[in-house]
């Protein structure tokens, strides 16, 4: 009965996406993460920062990784590049260009970093070296990997600054990071990251420190770059609005685990995990009058990554939790729901029939 009430347009859309995803999956993935697991031994116990995360990334695709602070988003990206401290215990595979990057020698990893997989950091002011001009730093990113003459280097730097939309590149390249505005700095960071035309670009909260206008401009730069260089992008953020704007697919993480993965429209219009539902319900909506009503919030706190609840990590906060059922007993695995959507909820199949969270 409930099924029948669903707007038919969504169904046709879902079919469309199914085709798109099928064609995308036919291609060899650029980057393939398999059962990635990261643990940090501490005095208080083992921190399970990332627990069994898998995803594929195709060329020209943008994957959004969303989740709140401490959900393992950034650790996942650091693990891909082997940038975690030595104390971290990393398991699983990161397959890139036919090689497993996990456990690869630092020397070999360095050849990949910045050249084939590059990273954009959140705080561009902190991530740019204060004592060098922006131009020198972009040039440095290139000369780490390539022997280029001074003239060619300068030309390339100007070209990159122009590409990311920095006006007057020649003057700007001779300036220091503190002479740039926030949005400019982030663009300079992006210029550095794309300097060697990487196949994969990992952007860790690239717009979090920026106001909305600049945010939109920076996201626009990402899209422009992708059009030009066919780069695959991993966009890590806690901002669902950002994801909605640019991502093709989304991976939702909670407490180091993946809870839902799928095509952007599926995740937004038909979330199949209670956590995703909660996140979406907590977004303010323009098409709704709130009056004195408060915005929805997911009650409780994220769990300690040392002492995770048994069963589903989300069970203490889940409005649909079945205390007598599997929720508190077994760990839910990702299950295929069709059209490339996967959810780690025992009740994913029937979640649509449950009453919406925000009422």
């Amino acid at each position: 009965m409930v099924d029948a009430l669903e707007p038919t347009s969504l169904h046709t859309e879902a079919v469309d996406h199914h085709h798109r995803i099928a064609s995308r999956d036919d291609r060899e993935p650029m980057l393939s993460v398999r059962h990635l697991k990261v643990e940090f031994p501490t005095d208080d116990g083992v921190v399970h920062a990332v627990d069994d995360v898998s995803f594929d990334l195709a060329a020209e695709e943008t994957l959004g990784i969303v989740g709140e602070s401490g959900s393992g988003k950034s650790v996942t990206s650091m693990a891909i590049l082997g940038l975690l401290p030595k104390s971290a215990h990393v398991e699983g595979e990161v397959i890139f260009a036919g090689r497993n990057l996990v456990g690869l020698k630092q020397k070999d990893l360095r050849e990949v970093r910045g050249d084939r997989i590059a990273m954009v950091f959140q705080d561009a002011l902190a991530a740019l070296n204060p004592v060098f001009t922006v131009g020198a730093q972009i040039g440095e990113a290139i000369s780490v990997h390539h022997d280029v003459s001074k003239e060619d280097l300068d030309d390339r730097v100007l070209e990159l600054l122009d590409l990311v939309g920095i006006p007057q590149p020649r003057q700007r390249s001779a300036q220091y990071p503190h002479e740039y505005s926030g949005g400019m700095r982030q663009r300079a960071m992006i210029a550095m990251a794309i300097a060697n035309d990487p196949e994969v670009l990992i952007a860790d909260e690239p717009t979090t420190a920026l106001d909305v206008t600049i945010q939109a401009q920076v996201l626009d730069v990402f899209e422009r770059i992708q059009d030009r260089t066919k780069t695959a992008i991993i966009l890590i953020t806690h901002d669902l609005g950002v994801v909605a704007g640019v991502a093709d697919r989304v991976l939702v993480m909670y407490a180091g685990r993946q809870v839902e993965r799928g095509d952007i429209d599926h995740i937004f219009y038909n979330p199949r995990h209670p956590y995703t539902r909660g996140l979406l319900a907590s977004l303010p909506r323009l098409d709704r009058r709130y009056g004195h009503e408060r915005l929805h919030r997911i009650k409780g706190q994220p769990p300690s990554l040392i002492f995770l609840p048994s069963g589903c990590a989300f069970n203490p906060r889940c409005p649909y939790v079945d205390i007598t059922g599997p929720c508190v007993r077994d760990r839910p695995e990702l299950q295929e729901l069709g059209a490339g959507q996967l959810s780690a909820c025992f009740y994913a199949q029937t979640l649509e029939e449950r009453e919406p969270i925000d009422q």
Binding site: L81, L83, R110, E111, V112, R113, G114, D115, A118, M119, F121, D123, A126, A127, L128, N129, P130, V131, F132, T133, E140, A141, V144, H145, G165, P167, Q168, R170, Q171, A174, Q175, Y176, H178, E179, S181, G183, M184, M189, M192, A193, T213, I214, Q217
Partner: protein, 326 residues
Amino acid sequence: MTQSPRQLREEIAPAMGAMPNTALVEAELPMAPDLVPGAEPVARSNWQLFRRRFFRHKLAVISLVLLVLIIIGCFGAPLFAPYPKNHVDALLIADAHGPSLKHWFGTTDSGQDLFSQVLYSGQISLEIGLAVAFFSTIVGVFVGALAGFFGGITDQLLSRLTDLFLVIPEIAILAVALQYLGRSGTSFIIILAALGWMYIARIVRGQVLSIREKEFVEAARASGASHKRIILRHILPNCIGPIMVNATLAIAVAVIAESTLAFLGLGLQPPNTSWGILLNQAESAVTDPAKIYLVLFPALMLLITVMAVNFIGDGLRDAFDPQSTH
């Protein structure tokens, strides 16, 4: 008469100076005055900026001029000194004479022109000062950077080594080592550098410890830079201020150490001559206050050199910091 918005804008625009044309530029460019669009932008080289920042530091500029004069005077002593090295005026032998037109700084107990002697003496003092500062800085930066960057067991070993050198009683070691190496300028340089690198090592270690945690180091790592490259091109340039200040301090310390030892009779011996040896030889000033000039002029040279070097260090530190231009 009412104006159209367009007319109004055209009228206002020149009054406000050249206005940025596009909305994007307007929203995004809190620019340096010389970069306002319309004005011909000037791209200044780093060297020009560096010079500008240094020359704003008046004391440093004055000090630089003084130091250059002292260096030229001392090393060009054969050209400038009124009397040749160790020249003894037969008429004045065996007594010191006060400053006169013939002998600007007076003469020493052994009848030598003090002004000429001060210039010649400066050669060794400055040589030792500069060379010791250079070598102790190299060693100190190397040890400190490795200890700070790699941490762990490397840091433990290098830091304990640093501590070990710090607790060595300097004067005693110097006196003994000079016996073995001979009392030459070279042995002074080796020994003073070997006993002077620890201070810079400690400071650099501390700096590197804090800078290696900065995100731009992480970013450099993510861009595929090697350890060596990260240390040399990303971390050390951020430590240049403290390194410069301490290198200049090391010059001062070395010049003073040489003088102290010479004064105590442990240093270089005549016929070598240095500011310390001149002070050592100014014995008659101890009994005769009127002969204070024997102490005054060499000491003044020492003081001016040491202070000039310190001020230059300050100026360089500011000049190396791009953020000091605002």
